[in-house]
Amino acid sequence: MADLLPANAPEAPRPPRPPRPGPRDGFLREVRRALRAYVLLAWTWCRAVAQYPMALSLLTFGVALSSLAEMGAVAVVFGHAGTLAGFSVYEGLLVYALAATAFGTADFLMGSVERLGEHIRSGSFDTMLVRPVPPLVQLATDQFSPRRLGKAVPALIVLVFVLVVCDVDWTAGRVLMLPVLVVSGVVICCSVWLLGGCLQFFVLDARQAANSLTYGGQALTEYPVAIYGRSLVRAVTFVVPLAFVSWQPALYLLDRPDPTGLPGVLRFLGPLVAVVLALAAALVWRLGLRHYRSTGS
């Protein structure tokens, strides 16, 4: 990153450099630096939008309203059907809540990457590349807004509610696995979001198409995926592993056999899938960065 600093950066008196760290130490330090930059930039944007409290509360209310509508739709559909794929209303809402929590949190943390195309077109992505902060951090925190919590927070509340109402056999394993599964879901969704964003490195007008992956993925996982039929369940298990966001965790928590006949061990693979997908997303991001040629003249 250092060689990307502008050549005419002001010469401030610097403390003497510490000895160059080893590779492993350096990686951890990079991560810590990136996280600190993320928090700092996100907080800056929060303070900026807080200058317009009325607009912020209206926007947050709007986001909450739309997630409430989605929840209502799930309730109406299950209310008419009684059970779908063997899931009752509350169990259906558990699937919804797992999906919405994961996607809502991912949207909160990484949602801004979908604007990559705009940054490329307007040239502001070039500015990001010359700043001494990882470009992904800048992209993810650009126009960061607490209004997006309007999606994750109601979903989390519903999740807690349905976990109390549903007949879950709370063994020690389930108690410990619950946060792991939720975090895996968030990581999977963040990766999907980043992959969708990276698509715009290669096809500039792909934002709409990427939406069918990100928002479409969310809409898909809000219902027990078994209702879509066997071939789609296999696709979202092995191709775009969205089944590990809500479907497999719900099967695990409710202790159900998989109605589509896939092996039961899959429900424990969420964390592994999350790590693999995150690595894939990171790889594609690097590939995209390398592929990127500025639009400027």
Binding site: A55, V63, I227
Partner: protein, 266 residues
């Protein structure tokens, strides 16, 4: 009138330049259509008939909704007018020798025509290819459906114009959109057919202007007797009524705004 025709033609031509975006939009609408349709198919597999709708009816409405997303712009984007009011560029619009409402109506109908031809038709065709839709057999009902879609577009424009014109009082209309954005698709029957809603809520929602954008056009296409007056013509009348009322309200608000607007500059 000649000016309006010219503005309409320019609107149509302007949007016809964004072809890649149109293709991407068709893809997105089709994908969401497939997801929504499969959810409803699963529901109707459990219960073959709900309030007069069967599986084919519901899937048809899903694709009517997805096809109309672009011309109605029900989930945004806002009319460019919003931004022009905020920046003051609306001053230029007010200098023109045509009314503000007429100018924007002509331009937006140009855009909607392009979207109807190159977004709605392909999206609906994808739906017809993938699923069994309940399509009318006679030419008359197709013609009435087309009329219903046109009226839906006018209602959609009038609502968006109203959301924008309040900017003369509020300055920034993003808050209005933030709240109305999610309300629109629910009240229109886009998220789920209003038929599936609890009866009292559905009764009220059917009469509101949003229903004229998706629910009524879908029922006109399906030839349902749940339309007001029990026939397709009742539905069309309701749509035309809302279009007239909302446009009149828009014209009235524009006049009121003109009395208080101050355009700075020099």
């Amino acid at each position: 009138m000649r000016v309006h025709c010219a503005v309409y033609a320019r609107g149509l031509r302007r949007y016809s330049t964004y072809r890649a975006a149109a293709v991407a939009g068709i893809l997105t609408n089709s994908v969401f259509g497939v997801i929504n349709a499969m959810v409803l198919l699963a529901l109707f597999a459990a219960r073959p008939e709900i309030n007069g709708y069967d599986a084919a009816d519901a899937v048809t409405q899903v694709y009517v909704a997805q096809a109309l997303i672009a011309p109605l712009a029900i989930m945004g984007p806002a009319l460019e007018l919003s931004e022009r009011i905020r920046t003051g560029a609306v001053g230029t619009d007010l200098l023109r020798p045509v009314s503000l409402l007429g100018w924007w109506l002509a331009q937006d109908l140009g855009r909607a025509t392009f979207d109807l031809l190159f977004r709605s038709v392909p999206t609906f065709a994808v739906g017809a290819l993938l699923f069994t839709l309940a399509l009318p057999g006679d030419a008359l009902r197709w013609a009435l459906t087309l009329l219903s879609f046109a009226l839906a577009t006018v209602v959609g424009f009038a609502l968006r114009y109203l959301y924008s014109v309040v900017g003369f009082w509020l300055m920034d209309t993003r808050g209005v959109w933030a709240v109305m954005g999610p309300v629109g698709p629910v009240a229109a029957g886009m998220l789920l057919p209003l038929t599936l809603f609890p009866a009292p809520a559905a009764e009220v929602l059917r009469l509101l202007p949003w229903a004229s954008m998706v629910q009524i056009p879908a029922e006109v296409l399906l030839g349902k007797d749940t339309l007001p007056g029990g026939s397709v013509y009742g539905g069309l009348l309701l749509q035309a009524g809302w279009a007239a009322v909302l446009l009149a309200l828009a014209a009235r608000l524009t006049t009121l705004a003109m009395r208080r607007v101050v355009v700075q500059g020099g």
